[in-house]
């Protein structure tokens, strides 16, 4: 992650740590930089000084890094292959995102999934909002605590999960509100579609079921972060 205030706030969050702090040699002295360095040192992070050009290569966003980058400890991050290897024969329920591009929504989804009772959030690199300062803020820092499974793209990820027996259910307005069929399987993936377009045609075609959250009073859809929260708490909240 990058940016002075975002990095400082992350380091100040309980349970969140950096393992490496990158600073530009061109940074002028500033109270916030001293705070960042002190916190990173306390946490045992390695502190590295780079030329401005080198730091840009690390942050990949020289316009907004403000001379500060941090490699964060994210114990919940894993790639999907690793997850599959360790959960082939166990029950699990995942929530997968199909082209969620609004950082506010992505952050809220991460926060709710982290707090809730599902086994992870499947976040494809292709088509999703990047985990940037906006997302980190909207997640209230929970992005560093959440079980987030990364994969290059969603269609291949879903195919891999189906190959071990998991069933894939798209959320769709006209889906089955009982969840009965999907619930009959012990390995399940719920796919949430883009804020405007819903689940993509490709994902829809590959899915095993279409399910819906029941809605009253003629409401036609829920916010995607709210839907994620209801799924994450579906079985467990009383």
């Amino acid at each position: 992650m990058y940016g002075r205030k975002p990095v400082l706030e992350a380091l100040q969050t309980a349970g969140v740590k950096a393992f490496r702090l990158h600073l530009a040699q061109t940074n002028k002295q500033a109270a916030i930089l001293e705070q960042i360095e002190a916190l990173a040192s306390q946490q045992g992070a390695e502190i590295c000084y780079h030329s401005r050009a080198e730091l840009s290569r690390i942050s990949k966003n020289s316009k907004q890094d403000q001379g500060v980058c941090a490699d964060m400890v994210c114990p919940g991050f894993a790639d999907l292959d690793h997850f599959i290897e360790h959960n082939q024969n166990r029950a699990f329920e995942l929530i997968a995102l199909d082209k969620i591009t609004n950082p506010q929504n992505l952050g809220m989804i991460i926060r709710s999934v982290a707090a809730g009772f599902c086994d992870g959030l499947l976040l494809p690199e292709k088509g999703s909002a990047q985990i940037d300062p906006l997302v980190i803020k909207a997640s209230a820092g929970t992005v560093f605590k959440a079980k987030i499974l990364r994969c290059p793209d969603l269609p291949n990820a879903l195919a891999k999960l189906q190959s071990i027996g998991a069933k894939v259910a798209c959320l769709a307005g006209d889906g089955d509100p009982t969840f009965a069929n999907i619930d009959a399987h012990k390995q399940r993936v719920f796919v949430l579609g883009n804020e405007t377009d819903g689940v993509s045609a490709e994902t829809n075609k590959a899915s095993d079921y279409r399910v819906a959250i029941p809605m009253n009073n003629g409401v036609e859809s829920l916010n995607v972060a709210v839907t994620a929260s209801l799924l994450a708490y579906r079985k467990h909240l009383q």
Copy 2:
């Protein structure tokens, strides 16, 4: 409500109607005004023309009304006294808001509560965000369909509800995650506090219970709109 685009969008929403359209006589001809007038006429709304000064008195926001106001049909709106009169001896579950000031959150809460399974949203006039175009947008137009109970202020409203036997539960991080005690009563009110400060001391003191949504992975709180959604769907989603 007021503003050209907000009024137009509201009139275009399925199931949403105006019963009176107010226009400033000083409005210059514009395609959007013709659209608004045509839709309002189709819906049988009365169309009134006012001086600019008179319209300002109606919109109460001359800077943003753009010469257009509409009185909307909100069949779900009621005041709390009316609700109490008709539900004294019935079971109900309400969600009450204690100083929710962020329009985005208020809109999302209205949307989720409208879709969910509780009996209404208790929205005090004092201390809450106003139902303005931002809220209407964030609610995805559901503000016109939701059961919203208005009351002047929260403390008196909660006292009235308690006087007919309802129990009041504040959401609090250190509350009871089982909801067991509150669930023993057939008339219940959950109070959600302000985004930063939580439930106010006054409300806390007056409440019968403190309850909590269980959270994993060291997450300390949920977004208030997510909490409202979980409460609205708590008993009914499977």
